[in-house]
């Protein structure tokens, strides 16, 4: 899976390296859910800057992660959505339930700290 998940303080940071297949999106979802439980993380950042498409499948998977994390008291922040991807998502009508968004990793960490 072209994703690395790192632990930093009480946060998990998942960086996606390249385009993901649906199978890889599901692997990422499951890995995040497992890691959050294991480390009792208080926050999760998913960096999607490498994704040139965020479609219904990715949105739904991110929302599932965020909703589950919320039940466990962890915040989920998606960072790095590209401008063209953001416009496509809003034109599509895709929503990221329970997800916080920030410009990039730095802004995401700031948001978790606040």
């Amino acid at each position: 899976m072209p994703v690395s998940i790192l632990k930093q303080r009480e946060y998990l940071i998942a960086s996606i390296q390249s385009a993901l297949t649906d199978t890889e999106v599901l692997e990422l979802r499951d890995a995040l859910l497992a890691e959050v439980a294991k480390h009792r993380a208080r926050g999760v950042i998913v960096d999607v800057a490498a994704l040139d498409v965020i479609d219904s499948f990715v949105s739904r998977s991110l929302s599932t992660v965020a909703r589950t994390n919320r039940l466990r008291g962890a915040k989920t922040v998606v960072v790095g959505i590209r401008p063209d991807v953001a416009v496509a998502m809003s034109q599509f009508g895709l929503r990221l339930d329970a997800v916080h968004t920030a410009l990039d990793l730095e802004a995401g960490l700031e948001l978790l700290d606040s």
Binding site: L20, D52, V53, S56, F92
Partner: protein, 137 residues
Amino acid sequence: MHIASDADTVVARQKGREAALLIGLSRTEATFVATAISEIARNITIHAGHGEVVIREVTEDGRRGMVVVARDEGPGIRDVAAVLRQEYSSDAGLGIGLWGARRLMDEIEVSSAPGMGTTVTMKKWRGIDEVGLLLHE
């Protein structure tokens, strides 16, 4: 392009983006096209197992644009109109892909019947220009 797995879907949407940029669509419009292809190709792998996606340039009434045709021989859709009409809900199955594609593309046409497979034809135009108007004066 043959579509039989989610890896094929990734290739198809990348090809779609490249084609869109070549034809002269903006970066954002190219992302619209890539996202629509992603949805439609997923419908093929999930509901029909395999099928194909064909991407072409079109010129029609003086307008330039691209057409994406997605074809499969899967179970088909009983009520196409109802699928296209449906409101967004995050757990909608087949419908969400077509629904999104309709919002992202300029034109979409779905022909399908139970047992007859499904063909989705979608078009995206480069900004409407004067040429089309001139030729139809």
